[in-house]
Symmetry: D2
Subunit: 139 residues, 4 copies
């Protein structure tokens, strides 16, 4: 059922600062793009990650990050960051990402991040109620 | 046999620019530290990554990167980047990393990167002879 | 005469990676935003910086950069990057920037960058004809 | 009198992540190197910037940053970051930097940063006593 799919796409243009002397985007920058992807996915649901922190007093540090680089991203390319929330994960959150190239077809990279809910002391906590409710609405 | 183990340790001090508003090092920066680790491992073998590019006319783009974050790294911490070459991988290179905390005990993070050998057109090539010889010397 | 004014505004949203442990955007990142500003100014004129490099075989390295920080930029703020080309500068280019805050009023930062025209050996060259013509059209 | 001069030199090796598609270090990264310079100058005086924040409950945000780029820095170059505290500045701090190239002669870049003392609400405050005493000892 499509209503269960929590996905969002956002565009990002590669800048000079993102490139390296190989002439392509430095691999480390993809984790920044994953961040943009999941932030905008939250925003599309009507809840910003900033609100999760301020209203929920909860943080979502990254526990794991993985990226497979399939094709280089070039300077000035407009990439599509496609982010999906994996609803099967409990007690934390997992996001999956696809970075799609300027041609809107080529898979430039794929990956995921896993996150815990922690309080401001870094202790594992339950997700705030308003986040749980929001996600439950989507299946 | 210890002579078969291709490992190297290098120190890195976390700077302000590395931190984020959670007060700890931003997760994306660990891939920079992995880069420092494998560069210094090459250098310790008597061959710099720069020489691989200039003498071998070969590049080692990252195909895959993975990082598991076990404990936060704080501003001004001196981390140890421990890098090991996985000699079982053929037709490319795989490096494994451990980031060890200021106390020289805590595993802050663990991960790996996989690399291909490509020419300046991005085509897969064999490793340059001088690199192969060097690695063979270590088992 | 307003047609002489070469300005352009583009939006940028501050991400977690941009912040530091002071809780605000790290000062070094503003130079990235200046880059975005001048790239989009070029694009608004119908010429991309990428084209200057590829068609003109010319580069515009930064000779000087200055930034005055007037107010902090916070995580998730949508900033306006306002870029103006200073037409009085000959033999190179100078861009002036204002970073405007989320409220679209507060001046978060102001600065400039100066650039030379160089070839791929780093030697100073004249600007490519098509760039000169384009700029002349604006006074 | 040499005892009045508050200077310190620290080395930094340019990594791949620092470079851009022009094949040299991206200009924005120099502000990171300036940060390393002033941090290590503090440390050389027996006081870390971290201690200023934690013991003094005071922060030193950057008010102004300037950099003049004189020569490119290449991948794998070992740069010298030479930092001097300008003792003539009152009610804040000003640091001057020179980035010296791999050959230990070429001036790669020069610049400065100016800083205010603020509390955790961002209000201007006096420098903590222990910092003032330390600096007074040097003239």
């Amino acid at each position: 059922m499509t209503e269960k799919r929590l996905s969002y796409q956002v565009k990002y243009r590669v800048i000079y600062a993102d490139t390296d002397k190989m002439g392509i985007a430095y691999h480390g920058n993809y984790l920044r793009w994953f961040e943009i992807g999941r932030s905008e996915l939250f925003r599309s649901l009507g809840l910003t990650y900033k609100q999760i922190e301020t209203r929920g007093n909860v943080y979502l540090p990254v526990l794991e990050a993985y990226c497979k680089y399939r094709a280089p991203a070039q300077y000035d390319d407009v990439l599509t960051i496609d982010t999906t929330l994996d609803r099967s994960v409990k007690g934390g959150m997992k996001f999956e990402y696809r970075i799609i190239g300027e041609d809107e077809q080529t898979i430039v990279a794929e990956g995921y991040t896993r996150h815990a809910f922690v309080d401001n002391q870094g202790r594992i906590v339950r997700p705030p109620g308003f986040l749980k409710e929001l996600l439950d609405r989507f299946g």
